[in-house]
Amino acid sequence: MGISVEGARKSFGDFQALDDVSIEVPDGSLTALLGPSGSGKSTLLRAIAGLETLDAGRVLIDGEDVSKKPTQKREVGFVFQHYAAFKHMTVFENVGFGLKIRRWDKAKIAARVHELLELVQLHGLADRYPSQLSGGQRQRMALARALAVEPQVLLLDEPFGALDAKVRKDLRTWLRRLHEEMHVTTIFVTHDQEEAMDVAGQLVVMNKGRVEQSGSANELYEQPANEFVMSFVGEVNRLGENFVRPHDMEVVLDADERTEEGMVQRIVALGFEIRVEFVLADGTEVWAQLTRNELQRLELQEGQIAYLRPVQAKSFNGSSPSDGQGASTPPGPEDEGDVEKSTAV
């Protein structure tokens, strides 16, 4: 079941949470809504579920306009960041809730719930209460509960945000496998670009209530539409008008017409990868990502002068005037003609 959102607008008081947002999510895909907090990604997800009503625009699920449908009739599975477990019900009752509402008979509910508990690896915990589960177990229970009613689409709002790093990694691998098995159209919201790239096939990058760019992880990394996307999906240095990834910074010991002079300020060894921080003549701070072998060959020392040559650089003249995270540039002209607002992903 594909999902499309067309021209969605929503404001909370003075705050514009969604500003003319359109997205296309194809049937069976796993899509991430990625952006910093306040970018509108959660609002967009909640609008698809009907938990927020849009000021303007519409939501289509499988081609049908569901904008006027109440949440309980949209057949969406929703997973909340803080689980939203029914605290007075056991794991079994939580997972079976949607089926009970649909008046399934008891034997069928029991069979389906046990099948799902098996799937989320919670068998044997059916009689526990949510308070007796760990965070990861609660979130898997919430996922089983959402899947029980065989929703048309599965929506996850920062599903791993409240979990610790190790559990988070396990769960996202597990979610990706689950999606490969079930093929239910899935959208999940995250502010963690690594998580988005790891799990999702398609990414929609949002900022300030607008879609900055949509595409695969590779497309966003290789061909970012603007400096916001470039700095959000990876590390970036700014050299004049140009933006350079740290691994595209070549360090050499002899100057030529394409190099910039800089002083080595600090050398940080992060295992095989070495982070070398420079100060340029105009005071700009940049860093280059080298391998251990390169560093040994160059014999760099802190305090010495070396030369930087960008292998690959991007500039976004006349492009989006977004205030990217990391790159601190004055906003460009209010010309948004070429900001990509809606792209099929």
Partner: protein, 269 residues
Amino acid sequence: MRVGSGNGSRWGLRVLGLGYVTLLLLLPLVLIFYKTFEDGIAPPLDAITSPDGLHALKLTLVMVAIAVPLNTIFGVGCALLLVRHKWKGNAIIDAVINLPFAISPVVIGLSLFLLYGQDGWLEPGLSEAGIKVLFSVPGMVLASVFVSLPFVVRETVPVLQEIGTEQEQAASTLGANAWQTFWRVTLPAIRWGVAYGVVLTTARVLGEFGAVSVVSGSISGQTQTLPLFVEKQYQNFNLPGAFGASVLLALLALMTLFAMNLLKRKEDA
């Protein structure tokens, strides 16, 4: 900073606290029990089982049976309105609900007089319909509802705020409509707040004297609840009767509290 960290001062505080509670709360209650049964069980029992005594007991239970469910339904609904549906009128409702706490029960009784009594605003319509409010049960019910109205609202609002809206939203994504969500998710989550409000409401209705006294006229065997009966017995120098009815009232209230604790313990087990 820790107050009373020394052993001596800790004991001092305990004795002070216990002494205060004993003198002001326990001693009077114990004395009532003692006085009641001073001459054996027969005198208080006779007073309670007299026709007027039994009628007072029955009428008191009728008050509870009507006022408590009414205020429970109203209280939960009102709390939902205040917490879940934000609008400008909420501040006014919130303030008005506290009025019964702020106003003396006697004043409440008198205000009912102005509304339903002779020359009262609603009197012409009501007497035409053949309904007698004052000096009869309807007026007493109104007074009881009035004085005990805030309890369920006040106890329910904080629990509703605490549970938040996520569980209700989850229920709606699972296909539950508003009614199903209320019965299966919201109400179970707030049940102890509501239960505590019910206990307080019951205790208040059982013991209400001032407002009911004004509107009922306290006619023996007709419009006399247990508290009014106690006063009458006391005025007639029938102390065993007054004490007996008092003990009965205290036991009724204790039973309500006990019933709630029993339910809660059964659930926690």
